[in-house]
Amino acid sequence: MTYEWDFSQIFNDPDVWIEGLKGTVQLALAGLAIAVPVGLLLALLRISRIPVISYVVVWYINLVRAIPALVLIFWFFFALPVMAGVQMGELQAASFALGFQGAAFFAEVFRAGIQSVAHGQKEAGKASALTNRQIFVEIILPQAIRNSLPVLVTMTIELTKGTALAGSVGFPELAYKASELANRTYRPLEVYTTLALFYLVVISLMSHAGRILERRLSNSQHKAER
């Protein structure tokens, strides 16, 4: 038996794919909008050495990272609304789950970035009579973010891959739209192959961009050091 591939039906209605793509992008951006600031905040709290708080943050980071993203999405979608008595849409639940888990990963990246800034920078700042806040905001942080950019790209890629999980609670991203289409057209082979190839291309491009960025940064770093 040979199977006749037929892609015509699954592209009859390109809107399905476009809508799915919109959902995926929307969710990825919403997740990032939570993960980046919260991650930075967690990193700062963790290195702040405020007695109880930095301890709690370490636990938060370790616990949240040990929970599968899909479990968190279910938790935010089904459990939290009942617990807190709030309404929670698919987009909200999924972006909270991906965002707050992403934040735990981002926090570690930012922390490594902050600690990678040479100690001499801080001392030089002090010698120049800058306040601690000025030293941190104007000297340490810009360098820290720059140093962690390549890893941040990797984390962004992971978060983007994670958006495909949100279809499980009915958020209309690419994977969800695709499975609807597969059911409607009885063409799962074509649909899921297209979907996989699409992700392959997009994510490969993203990681390629990350590698270029990394090379550029390390080049300019060397120049600066010379």
């Binding site: 199977y3 040990a66 899909l70 479990v71 089904f78 495909a164 799962p188 082979l189 992700y199 490969s204």
Partner: protein
């Protein structure tokens, strides 16, 4: 009615344990298969043969960049049409996770083999070792210690990833949690319970592996 009722978890402990079983089964099988695939891919990737290099690269890029849940769907819904054989839920989830773990391990093996200094290979060669015996007696014992922590991270990641198998109704932990949540209208307990069990599994695994690693470094010469 208290808002968190542990008894729903306790009453369903058999269900949850069978879920843990299924999670551990598919994760362990995928991790083991992934390490073997990774060894092949890593050796291909660090060989001097251009074609093998390219194939290894292509494999790693492919299965790293496609979200695992889509691989699972593909194995369960698309593959049967292609090969006219329906893999069951375990096999579909296993194939997807093993391919994913394999791509992860491919990179670990490649950098692990690279981490052993070049003159070790040359030394083995000078002593008359062939490729396989220098691998077996010289390179691998040293590479293994360097790769160990990365394999632990990979194991954690693959175990967490196995939750996506619930999307094709493979009866792992999250799926069992969905059953409990749906049957007893207890989503808080069910999903919090599942999250906690995952934390315990992942935490226990990490602690155990840290212990193993300490022993490896204690008795091994570095």
């Amino acid at each position: 009615m208290s808002w968190f009722d542990m008894s729903v978890l306790i009453k369903n402990y058999r269900l949850l344990i069978s879920g843990i079983d299924a999670t551990v089964a598919v994760s362990a099988a995928s991790i083991a298969a992934g390490m073997v695939i990774g060894a092949i891919v890593g050796m291909a990737g660090s060989s001097s043969n251009r074609l093998l290099n390219w194939l290894a690269r292509a494999y790693v890029e492919t299965f790293r960049n496609i979200p695992v849940i889509i691989l699972v769907f593909w194995m369960y819904y698309a593959l049967p049409i292609l090969i006219a054989w329906q893999a069951n839920r375990f096999t579909s989830a296993f194939l997807a996770l093993a391919l994913y773990a394999g791509s992860y391990c491919g990179e670990i093996w490649r950098s692990g083999l690279k981490s052993v200094a070049r003159h070790q290979t040359e030394g083995a060669e000078a002593l008359g070792f062939g490729y396989w015996s220098s691998m077996r007696y010289v390179i691998l014992p040293q590479a293994a210690r360097n790769m160990f922590p990365s394999f632990v991270t990979m194991g954690v990641d693959t175990t967490k990833m196995s939750a996506v198998a619930s999307a094709i109704a493979y009866p792992e932990l999250l799926y069992k949690g969905q059953l409990v949540a749906g049957t007893f209208y207890r989503p808080i307990e069910a999903y919090t319970g599942v999250a906690v069990i995952f934390i315990v599994i992942i935490g226990g695994f990490t602690i155990a592996m840290d212990w193993v690693e300490r022993r490896l470094t204690k008795y091994g010469t570095r």
